[in-house]
Symmetry: C2
Subunit: 411 residues, 2 copies
């Protein structure tokens, strides 16, 4: 039986492949605090359910491949509220941000082409690139520098004739880093100089927090790649309602670009898969049209409090190294263990406090360079503060009890 | 600005690219009978809407990448009712049959690999193959032979070391042909002899009709590739609720195979796109669990009557050549015109009877061999009989008035 080389080479998702261990732990009666996956416990706004319940048709028919006009109108209105001027014609509705990323890669990459991505990065970027036989070229970043970009010349040296794009997750999954306007301008300059696209994964756009103090202070306002005027036709915006409205299971995202040729090419792929779920588009349109600014403000406040709580708890654990993230809802922490994946499996199989254990995502899954991130763990602060405190306490005790504990984080 | 060679080479959907002409016709106040797309007017069973309205959660969360357990259970039960023994573990829920086809190609094909498909075929097969840089190799079939497969040696001669699979749409879109058990056994023999997969697109499984007489007669019972015992691990079943339950806009399909390695490989791709819409899976589970046998029987009866009506009407048009299809809801007809795509555009722009016109899908879109099918049109009998009669009358008058009319169908 012959499988393709491409599928054999593809790694299983490092986030999802540990799920069976969590299932076993639960089957043994343990409660597992899931900090391993970006699945928030925040309520989806009621407008989503209401719009779907009120949508009355007799036949649930195909809709336009590019997306329901009212949803594209609503998304356009949302972007304008951020001073990002996408018109409805410049937007394709997709099956989550995931499909938008796949489409972007297909439209710009042939086999052997390269996409530069700051490392660590969201593991599925690799899958989307490799499925299209393109390759991710990592731009190294360092925890000590808050995972910000290295100097321009370091990035420039990585650009080859096969480079097609630079992909930026901003705010960043898994590091929580928020790009500065200077960083984005550097990338814009490189994009123009080398005729590259910039793929902007901004699904956490609403999730930025000041570093300290209740009333802001040291944080500059969020800059989107969609704000930069002179490279608009090169910016492929990738977006999703999953985090913004806590609607991960709706699978509604979009790709947007001020480039009619790009949209026309993308539509060929959209037409092949016919359309995106009609009901989910109806629900998503209501979310964009009707969700109050207060909802988004409350969610932001909640995540900020969670970040502060988890960060403070982590700082109390001997040997744990991390910096305070400015956005998204992840902390990438260095642990004093031999291998964080082994450690996570060990916790699920062998450790609990009063029947409770916890789970993070192994850091190595966010690196393409072998052996990097082996002592790191990504923790998603998607649970209530009380649960985060408990999870951090479990982590602290587990590290102390773990046979593979090291004296300090291995560099 | 650099686009990939793969995207530049991809043709826009021949079915969907004429939609702007229909939009213009409607904007001019014309009514258009849409026989161009397989979008039925049949009601979606109420169980779908009811299950979605009754699904109460606060957060619409990610679900399992392979699909909701209750949906996979329900699909498994459905298959067992057809004596096709897929267990829930052997099923992956997909974004429509479209995604199932894409996954299948990715799992088995590297660039340059080949998939044999009887021609004419569903145009998007080409898109799914070409996106993965695999190629469709057409197996020629002839209208005069009811589009059945050519002799085994003709197929065997097309097999090369790069052949990975034979894909069969059964009942067939666009021809309405239903494969015989003998044909399927021939393919099974070739699959074993040459170590190939068989991709079975059986989304029209419920849509077979006897050739004549109200109580059946000359039709053998439907044979599925899933019925053949000794090649189970080679059969990739592709399915969808779109036609079965008239739920095209739900975008729920599946891939099923009795081959644990294949499922494991497929899951790597499923995990990269996280999951399929939660609500749509809830609705689909209700459709599989609760739709009455009577609903499916009534739908079958309705389509059969529509087939008879449209077929009879077409036989009355001078110069139109077609045979009576045994399944699905399409008729592939030869027209006495220079080019059916030009003819369709001409009808939309220049022809109407009392403000009404009609639309079919150009036949050439279903062929990969250049210039084949240029005089053919695919007509979907997805409208009520009264509408089909009107559409056929419009077609008849339009052919008579068309400047590019020929005396007979060009061979």
């Amino acid at each position: 039986m012959h499988f393709s080389e491409r599928i054999k080479a593809l790694q299983a998702s490092p986030i999802r492949r540990l799920i069976p261990y969590a299932d076993s732990a639960r089957a043994m009666g343990k409660k597992v605090y899931h900090l391993n996956i970006g699945q928030p416990d925040i309520k989806t706004p009621g407008e989503y359910f209401e719009a779907i319940r009120n949508f009355r048709v007799e036949t649930i028919a195909y809709v336009a491949s590019q997306g329901l006009p009212e949803l594209r109108e609503a998304i356009s209105g949302y972007y304008h509220s951020w001073n990002i001027p996408y018109s409805p014609d410049e937007i394709c509705v997709t099956n989550g941000g995931s499909e938008a990323l796949s489409l972007a890669v297909q439209v710009i990459c042939d086999p052997g082409d390269e996409i530069l991505i700051p490392e660590p990065f969201y593991a599925n970027y690799n899958a989307f690139a490799e499925t299209a036989l393109a390759h991710v070229v990592p731009i190294p970043t360092r925890a000590e520098e808050g995972f910000h970009l290295p100097p321009e010349r370091v990035i420039e040296e990585l650009i080859t004739p096969r480079t097609r794009a630079i992909l930026i997750s901003n705010p960043n999954n898994p590091t929580g880093t928020v790009s500065t306007a200077d960083e984005l301008n550097t990338l814009a300059g490189l994009a123009k100089k080398y005729d590259l696209f910039l793929i902007a994964d901004e699904v956490y756009r609403e999730f930025t927090y000041p570093q300290s103090g209740l009333s802001g202070g040291d944080s500059e306002p969020f800059t989107s790649l969609g704000h930069l005027d002179d490279i608009r036709e090169r910016v492929i915006m990738v977006d999703s309602i999953s985090k913004r409205y806590s609607a991960c299971g709706a699978r509604i995202g979009c790709l947007a670009i001020k480039n009619a040729d790009f949209i026309a090419q993308t539509l060929k792929l959209c037409q092949a898969r016919l359309c995106v779920s009609t009901l989910e588009q109806v629900g998503a349109a209501a979310l964009y049209q009707k969700t109050s600014a207060q909802y988004l403000a409350d969610v932001n406040k909640e995540y900020r409090a969670r970040r502060d709580t988890l960060y403070s708890a982590l700082k109390e654990i001997d040997g744990v190294v991390c910096s305070k993230p400015r956005g998204a809802f992840y902390i990438m922490a260095g642990l004093p263990v031999d291998d964080s994946e082994k450690f996570i499996v060990w916790m699920l199989q062998n450790f609990d406090i009063n029947g409770e254990t916890m789970m993070g995502a192994p850091g190595s899954g966010f690196y393409s360079v072998p052996n990097r991130g082996r002592n790191e763990i990504r923790l998603a602060y998607v649970l209530k503060q009380e649960a985060l405190v408990k999870a951090a306490a479990i982590l602290k005790s587990a590290i102390a009890a773990y046979p593979g504990r090291l004296e300090a984080v291995r560099a």
